[in-house]
């Protein structure tokens, strides 16, 4: 009997070829990667102008006010940089979480706690252990804020690793919990006992715990330099270290990472802890460099801002700087815009939403301006699992 020939191929492929990713020329891809966010911002500004006009105000005047407020004088520029400083830290944190496939909307709470802990150590520590030289006190204060943020980020990370609970809801819940805790403490045990003080805030921190100003008469402080340094550190960490490699792996394909032996649970916790640490550092820097105390309400809105920045930067650490500058400029210029054109400062939030929209729905921008695709779209969602 004739031997059965054995074509030993087993089950057929699902379809002759998964359409393989076409190689887009590198230069064109890079150009598009830069052009897209710029065009997204431009489109958002145009759309925002339309909204202003619909509400009966002058968009050109509004944008003129925005420009004056953010960039038209040394003081304005300094203030923009001041605004941008915490944005860099929180943007880096969210970008880092994105690399790990995680959505950290908790920057607000992490920042608030970082600021609180930093302020507390800033004013209370000399009273407890005696006078401290700046070279000890300042780093301690910054470190404490960083650790507080890290702890607050680790909690949702641990919950996700242990129970699978999605970090979107938990980070938002912890935002509210953190803000309530800060409110309680600022109104109570940590409140400035000075009888002339009527608002919820801590006493001023010691001189040794302050970041130096970078120029006389301006509020620009050394925190900006620290932000630039951290950008380099995060970039190096993500792309040159083994930890960064592991974080990117669990973000790109957690199943394969786990099968290859990576400790998935531990990496989840570490990623969110690092993300929170950066937000906590942002809060500490604000306290040590700008306000020299912690005050109720200064941290509102940072959560979504950080997400917008990270998305605008396409989660690239180096892209966080221009994105943070942009949002800082918008926030800073808003007051002048309101003064000049009667457009409420909340418009900046609308602009932020529009920028987010056009960055996320890049296909809209691409279609408008006829650009080719610059790589796979940003997709993080894997549902609630």
């Amino acid at each position: 009997m004739a031997q059965q020939p054995t074509i030993l191929a087993s089950e057929a492929a699902p379809s002759p070829s998964r359409p393989r990713a076409r190689a887009v020329p590198v230069a064109r891809a890079a150009l598009t990667a830069v052009a897209l966010p710029v065009l997204a911002v431009a489109t958002a500004l145009v759309a925002g102008g339309a909204i202003i006009a619909l509400a009966g105000r002058d968009p050109l005047l509004a944008y003129e006010g925005l420009w004056e407020g953010c960039c038209a004088s040394p003081r304005a520029l300094s203030e923009t940089l001041v605004w941008a400083t915490p944005y860099v830290f929180t943007g880096l944190g969210v970008a880092l979480a994105f690399h790990g496939g995680l959505f950290n909307i908790g920057a607000e709470g992490q920042l608030a706690l970082g600021a609180l802990v930093a302020a507390w150590l800033g004013y209370a520590l000399p009273g407890l252990v005696g006078p401290l030289p700046a070279v000890v006190h300042l780093p301690l204060v910054l470190l404490a804020g960083t650790l507080a943020g890290a702890a607050w980020g680790a909690v949702p990370g641990w919950l996700k690793a242990r129970t699978g609970a999605h970090e979107v809801i938990n980070t938002i819940m912890l935002n509210y919990v953190a803000l309530l805790a800060v409110s309680y403490l600022l109104n109570g045990p940590l409140r400035d006992p000075n009888p002339l003080n009527v608002i919820a805030r801590t006493p001023e921190i010691a001189l040794g715990a302050r970041l130096p100003r970078l120029a006389p008469d301006l509020r620009l402080h050394a925190g900006l330099l620290l932000a630039l340094v951290m950008t380099g550190v995060v970039w190096w960490g993500v792309y040159r270290t083994t930890l960064g490699f592991a974080i990117r792996a669990i973000g790109a394909n957690p199943a394969a990472a786990r099968a290859a032996g990576m400790p998935l649970g531990r990496l989840l916790v570490v990623t969110l802890a690092l993300s929170g640490a950066l937000a906590g550092l942002a809060g500490a820097v604000e306290v040590a460099g700008l306000n020299y105390r912690d005050e109720l309400g200064f941290s509102l809105g940072y959560g979504f801002d950080a997400i917008a920045i990270a998305l605008l930067a396409r989660a690239q650490p180096l892209g966080v700087i221009p994105a943070a500058l942009l949002l800082g400029a918008l926030r800073n210029g808003a007051a002048r815009m309101q003064f000049l054109a009667g457009v409420p400062v909340d418009l900046v939030v609308v602009l932020e939403g529009l920028i987010l929209l056009f960055v996320a729905a890049e296909v809209l921008v691409r279609r408008l301006y006829r650009l080719p695709a610059a790589g796979p779209p940003l997709v993080f969602t894997r549902g609630w699992r």
């Binding site: 998964r18 959505f103 809801i169 819940m173 309530l180 409420p344 729905a361 549902g383």
Partner: protein, 348 residues
């Protein structure tokens, strides 16, 4: 979603009410505490129930919707403004009609927000969590901006009133549970929608197709179902329901609008949906549970609780986290939840 978990949630509600009695019996009589807690629970659970139902519609069709908070906020503001405008046009004699117009406008705002979300998530296949975030940010921005632009000069006005409480005579006079039969219209609508959604989802053709699209969109596609259309309709319906939740805030709860007044309720509603196993009944029971926690927080002052208000205020949020953690991997969302569907991609 098992009957056991449903009972567990109702037991949790009972426990929270019992805790309230224990804490407040120095200040008030126990029956009064129970009645007050039940009434408040049902009230504050209303937006949670509606928000969770909105989530059920969207997610059963496979679209993750974290923008419920934004939908509620937009609807709250839109309904508020519409009620004011109607009142200005119709005069004091027609307060009821003005409020009705407001509710309608709120629902429509929710529907528009749903259409926006569907455009992003279904047609353009943008990442769904990012789409929800865009909706939330735009909602916060637009409502803040418009409320300040419109009312800056004049100060924030009050709505002509709140929706009236409807009483079921006889039953409403019962001790303790009488409060259950004395509810405002949106609260009642929420209960009706729970039943309606259950019927639609599990006993109609439309519900079967919706669930198929959420579990295995390619199977539904090959069976001849238009996946995109099913998702579009469900997301818009979810938006309409979320719009009703928004109406609660400015037309049933307090007759005014405040920026950020939803205060995270949209996310708690999401947690209620998850904890309720993506079913209407489960969503309702979980909303009652979270509502009871909020009721405890609201009534804490009148119970003479010595704990600072902020710490009590944490209760709903902590309970939400606890509930989600307690699920510990036992939650089973629709299998294709969160995955954009591309009919032309080989092998999704």
């Amino acid at each position: 979603m098992t009957p056991r978990r449903l009972w567990l949630m109702l037991v949790a509600v009972a426990l929270i009410v019992a805790a309230a009695v224990a804490l407040g019996r120095e200040q008030m009589a126990a029956p009064a505490i129970v009645a007050s807690m039940l009434r408040t629970t049902l009230q504050v659970a209303t937006p949670l129930t509606l928000g969770a139902l909105a989530g059920v519609y969207c997610e059963r069709a496979g679209v993750v919707n974290i923008g419920i908070e934004g939908m509620m906020l937009l609807a709250a503001f839109g309904g508020f403004v519409a009620a004011l405008a109607a009142h200005a046009a119709l005069g004091d004699a027609a307060v009821g009609q003005s409020l009705a117009v407001g509710v309608l406008a709120a629902v429509l705002c929710g529907g528009l927000a749903g259409a926006f979300l569907a455009l992003l998530c279904v047609t353009y296949r943008v990442d769904q969590i990012i789409s929800g975030t865009v909706l939330n940010v735009l909602a916060i921005g637009l409502t803040g901006y418009l409320s300040r632009q419109l009312f800056f000069q004049t100060g924030m006005p009050h709505a002509p009133g709140v929706l009236p409480t409807l009483r079921l005579p006889g039953l409403a006079d019962l001790p303790l549970v009488g409060a259950v039969f004395e509810q405002q219209p949106i609260a009642l609508a929420a209960l009706a929608l729970v039943v309606l959604t259950h019927g639609v989802l599990f006993h109609t053709v439309w519900g079967l197709r919706t669930r198929a699209v959420g579990e295995h969109p390619r199977a539904a596609d090959t069976a001849g179902i238009d996946v995109a259309r099913v998702r579009w309709v469900n997301v818009i319906v979810g938006g309409l329901v979320a719009g009703l939740a928004g109406a609660y805030f400015t037309l049933e709860s307090v007759p005014s609008f405040e920026p950020l007044m939803t205060n995270g309720r949209g996310f708690i509603a999401l947690a209620a949906m998850i904890f309720g196993g993506w079913t209407p009944l489960g969503a309702w029971a979980a909303s009652l549970m979270f509502g009871a926690a909020q009721a405890l927080q609201i009534n804490a002052q009148s119970f003479g609780l010595a704990v600072p208000s902020q710490l009590v205020g944490m209760l709903p949020y902590l309970l939400t986290m606890l509930a989600l953690a307690g699920l510990a991997g036992r939650s089973r969302p629709p299998a294709a939840d969160g995955q954009p569907y591309d009919p032309h991609e080989a092998d999704t």
